[in-house]
């Protein structure tokens, strides 16, 4: 591959800088503008800490569930093709195509007290809307395809000969998955999980509708940031944004590692 022309590289740097770099720097600049002491107390704002706590609890459920479902769905779609799995393959992209706010409305219609799914759950004493389960559901919905989409092309490329050979050598499905399949898809899965984490942390629209945005109760970190700006508490908003941005940068770095490992694997394949 030849080097791209200098002017093109410069253009890309300027574009990315104007789009991402400068605004990101300003977020951190604003968070530090009143000094370390003010930042320290802002970080201990009780409603923001409650929001961070809720966000972590959402991640702890949504991330493992979507990872397991995502890996399972990818294996099912690639290894056991049927008309059902092909349908799932198409439908699984829906969350990427629909605006999150519409996803929120869809969930609200389905899960309200008289909704198709809300009514039987209410009979069991379970409230989904305006509470923790609803937020988890919304986050899982919007990030559903991210792991699966990473794995489908990879599983197709690897093929099933290694798995079939392992079967002929006496291995059962669980052993085949643990010793053969999982080792091949580990880094691609890590990449998909990072994307899922970023999506869950950053989700706003769907969660806004479903959670009711109740401070200290159903307010996630992104909602808390939004609320602070609306209530003319911009400084607190920038501190929240700084926390979220820092987390995202760390995820981005982890993502870079996963991608690097994945690319090295591909170079070995060639």
């Amino acid at each position: 591959m030849g080097r791209s022309p200098r002017w093109l590289r410069l253009l890309v740097i300027l574009y990315v800088g104007a789009l991402i770099g400068v605004p990101l720097v300003f977020v951190f600049q604003r968070a530090f503008v009143h000094g370390a002491g003010a930042l320290w107390s802002a970080l201990h704002d009780s409603s923001m800490d409650a929001a961070i706590g809720l966000t972590i609890r959402v991640v702890l459920v949504a991330l493992p569930v979507n990872t397991i479902v995502g890996v399972g769905a990818a294996l099912w779609i690639v290894r056991r093709p049927s008309w059902v799995s092909r349908l799932v393959d198409r439908v699984i992209d829906v969350p990427l195509a629909i605006s999150p706010i519409i996803i929120g409305l869809m969930l609200e219609l389905a899960y309200n007290q008289s909704g198709w799914l809300g009514r039987p759950l209410a009979a069991l004493g379970l409230t989904v809307l305006f509470s923790y389960p609803g937020i988890v559901l919304a986050c899982m919905f919007v990030s559903l395809p991210l792991v699966t989409r990473q794995l489908i092309p990879l599983l197709r490329e690897i093929g099933s000969h290694q798995e079939q050979t392992a079967a002929s050598l006496g291995a059962g499905p669980v052993r085949i998955f643990l010793t053969i399949t999982m080792r091949s898809i580990l880094w691609a899965t890590a990449y998909g999980v990072s994307l899922t984490l970023a999506r869950v942390l950053g989700e706003y629209g769907a969660v806004l509708i479903v959670s009711g945005n109740i401070t200290n109760l159903t307010q996630t970190l992104t909602l808390n940031i939004g609320a602070n700006f609306e209530n003319y508490n911009a400084y607190q908003g920038f501190v929240g944004a700084g926390v979220l941005a820092t987390t995202s940068v760390v995820i981005l770095l982890l993502l870079g590692v996963a991608r690097h490992r994945e690319r090295k694997r591909h170079e070995h394949l060639a």
């Binding site: 000969h161 079939q164 050979t165 050598l169 006496g170 053969i180 091949s184």
Partner: protein, 310 residues
């Protein structure tokens, strides 16, 4: 261990792949399933291994019906055309895989794998990874991995197709002598007739999911059951309206035979091809040995006669 295949049927959707296939592979034999691509031979091999389901019919291993038995309980060694190395595992761990699955004691695994790696000339490569091996080495590793479980039957899908000609030729001889040494019932799939003739002691010629002919290599070559088998096993040309082998024809300057004109003489080394045009038929070709061609010293444009050898 013998393999009985009884009235096997298989189709993908409406596409029949295998139609009423029956054969008995004798204990200790090396059988080649030979046929053009799409003849159903690889599907049949996978059905024996349990890697492909059977629509109808039975697969019987040494008197035991295994038609619905999962692959992992069949104790069959299977090698794919791409060798399917476990890329994330070392050469040693690849070969040890089946033994670890069977919970063989560690010291036993160490001893068995070391012995197998010596057998396939990979003794010095135990700690390498598959990507660091050549095609021929990967194939030998795959063989060792399949042999490690002491399989009752060894199945090889196009074992030499992915190798370059010279390595393939070397490994063919090696696989043949290894099979004779171990005496393990082996079935290999190939589309290459020379490979089947060289390696196998029994050839099953397939076309469109059916058997065309079964026999020892010399027999199917010399007495082909039909024109398909004749054409598939070697070159043919048309003489007096019949399909014949080019080396079954003779060219002479006089005597009985069909009058023809020499169009071309192509010297390939031991084999010399002579292209001739009979007066009343299409151009045909025949094969002479180097010595025969030398003695005749045919010239292009010369008048000759063509007849069958006796």
């Amino acid at each position: 261990m013998s393999i009985s295949l009884e009235h096997l049927y298989k189709s993908y959707g409406h596409e029949p792949v295998l139609t009423d296939f029956s054969d008995v592979v004798p204990d200790g034999s090396l059988t080649a399933l030979l046929g053009p691509s799409g003849s159903g031979k690889s599907t049949l091999l996978k059905m024996i291994a349990g890697l492909e389901s059977v629509d109808q019919g039975r697969v019987i291993l040494h008197g035991r019906d295994v038609t619905t038995l999962p692959a992992r309980h069949r104790n069959i060694g299977f090698c794919f055309q791409d060798y399917a190395p476990f890329y994330q595992l070392s050469v040693f761990e690849n070969v040890a895989y089946g033994l670890r699955t069977r919970k063989v004691p560690k010291h036993q695994i160490q001893a068995d794998v070391t012995e197998l790696l010596e057998l396939v000339h990979l003794g010095d490569f135990a700690h390498r990874y598959p990507r660091q091996l050549s095609g021929g080495q990967r194939q030998r590793m795959a063989l060792a991995r399949a042999l490690a479980i002491k399989p009752d039957v060894l199945l090889l899908d196009e074992p030499f197709a992915a190798l370059d000609a010279q390595v393939g030729a070397e490994l063919r001889g090696w696989v043949r002598s290894l099979q004779h040494e171990l005496g393990i019932t082996t079935v290999l799939v190939t589309h290459n007739q020379a490979e089947a003739m060289e390696v196998a002691d029994r050839v099953v010629i397939m076309n469109h999911g059916r058997i065309e002919q079964v026999g020892i290599p010399a027999e199917v070559y010399d007495q082909p059951a039909n024109d398909f088998v004749r054409a598939f096993l070697g070159p043919t040309t048309t003489f007096e309206g019949q399909s014949v082998r080019p080396h079954d024809l003779l060219v002479a300057r006089s005597g009985d035979g069909v009058a023809a004109v020499v169009r071309d003489v192509i010297r390939l080394g031991f084999e010399v091809r002579v292209v001739v045009a009979p007066a009343s038929a299409e151009t045909i070709w025949l094969q002479l040995t180097h010595d025969e061609a030398q003695q005749l010293d045919l010239q292009v444009g010369e008048n000759v006669v063509i007849r069958r050898r006796n």
